[in-house]
């Protein structure tokens, strides 16, 4: 790790101020940033730690509206009793991220701000049609995720929360990379008031994406059998030593079917 200056922000406003110094970066759970710094792939001059800010923590469920503070850990999302009732699919998804120790530290805000193409939250938020709240504005998930490790966040902008309307039905199915345990393919399906949305992570060359084919088939009938014979094109999918684009295409169809079956279970 290169030398770095650590700051513990007193508030979101304080964090915004601190972010202006040098090449500062926000530190939340640190589950991606610190490993990247250890291998010297990331070299921020300053770290602004927001992980202890109470104003960024917690899951609130009010009627059908769910709001999750940006610094809420994956564990706290996975274990939240109200969320488990309102949107069990998201709690389940959070329970599949990394490992128990990672889930105790990693946060929803950190995950989506990083937008790793194999991360789980981007698929969930895209499928849930969530809104990303920052210290400056609100951004629809459809507009937030912009390719590999790219988001709509501007310089100095801080994710403070995520909110969405709980869907009638939803589920996430993940096929792990056997080594890294990130998603090779993860499919989140949700049937909400605006219809069916299905988002895929781990597979796209441009990161998380919605599958129009899956959504169209499920719009007709939200049943696993609606996806029988679905051929997902391999074009635009990643290929690496762990999985070819063809294999990923196959897994998208299989995981989508399993997700729908789980959502209906």
């Amino acid at each position: 790790m290169y030398s770095v200056n650590y700051h513990r922000a007193a508030s979101v406003a304080d964090a915004a101020k601190l972010l202006k110094s040098g090449d500062a970066k926000l530190l939340s759970g640190g589950m991606t940033l610190i490993p990247a710094m250890k291998t010297r792939l990331a070299a921020p001059s300053d770290l602004v730690d927001v992980s202890r800010l109470k104003e960024l923590q917690g899951v609130k469920v009010s009627g059908k509206t769910v709001t999750i503070g940006a610094a809420t850990t994956h564990y706290d999302v996975s274990a939240d009793a109200n969320l488990k009732k309102a949107c069990p699919a998201l709690a389940h998804m959070a329970s599949l991220i990394g490992d128990p120790a990672v889930r105790y530290k990693g946060t929803i805000g950190g995950s989506i701000a990083n937008n790793d193409p194999a991360a789980d939250y981007p698929a969930a938020l895209l499928a849930l049609g969530a809104t990303i709240v920052t210290n400056k504005r609100e951004i629809a998930a459809d507009k937030f995720f912009k390719g590999l490790f790219e988001t709509a966040l501007k310089e100095g902008e801080i994710v403070t929360a995520v909110s969405f309307t709980a869907p009638a039905k939803a589920a996430y199915q993940k096929f792990r990379n056997p080594a890294s345990r990130y998603a090779i393919v993860g499919v989140f399906v949700a049937k909400g008031k605006d219809g069916v949305r299905a988002a895929v992570t781990g597979a796209g060359e441009d990161g998380v994406f919605r599958s129009k084919d899956i959504e169209a088939a499920l719009a007709k009938s939200f049943d696993a059998s609606a996806l029988d014979g679905l051929k997902v094109p391999a074009k635009g999918l990643m290929s690496d030593i762990h999985a070819s684009a063809d294999y990923r295409a196959n897994l998208i169809a299989v995981m989508a079917k399993r997700a729908v079956a789980a959502a209906n279970a």
């Binding site: 030398s3 730690d49 490992d99 128990p100 120790a101 990672v102």
Partner: protein, 166 residues
Amino acid sequence: MSDVSLTVNGKRVSGSAEDRTLLVHFLRENLGLTGTHVGCDTSQCGACVVHVDGRAVKSCTMLAVQASGSTIVTIEGLADGAELHPVQAAFKEHHGLQCGFCTPGMIMTATDMIARHPEGLDEATVRTELEGNICRCTGYHNIVKAILAASETMAKGAKGKAKQAA
């Protein structure tokens, strides 16, 4: 450089460290608590797991300064004096370790796992929850056995205490 103040294994400690110092290195080098190990660079092997404010985390993926103000338990602080913690005892009884390098992290993960599952554990759950701890010696067979046994012992112990209280 920053000042780092921690409560480690019940003792208040403080020291000065570069901001880039990882918690694991602070524990090992500044405090001499070498039971916590480093086995990988990618936060996957779990040899470095310690409890920070009651949660089992990877001390190789946390800055010491980030932990400042926290309460930490390491493998050195788990036993109650000469009396082994039930998880430690179970690892010994069931031969849940060979070279011993991953063992501290395994034990710290296991104690957290057992605490999180007061309803009890089964083999499948233990195996899933060991996702973040890699062992190269045991094939996990006896680690799983040890954790299941410790979980049972601790549940009985808790019941026994409840009875005594009643």
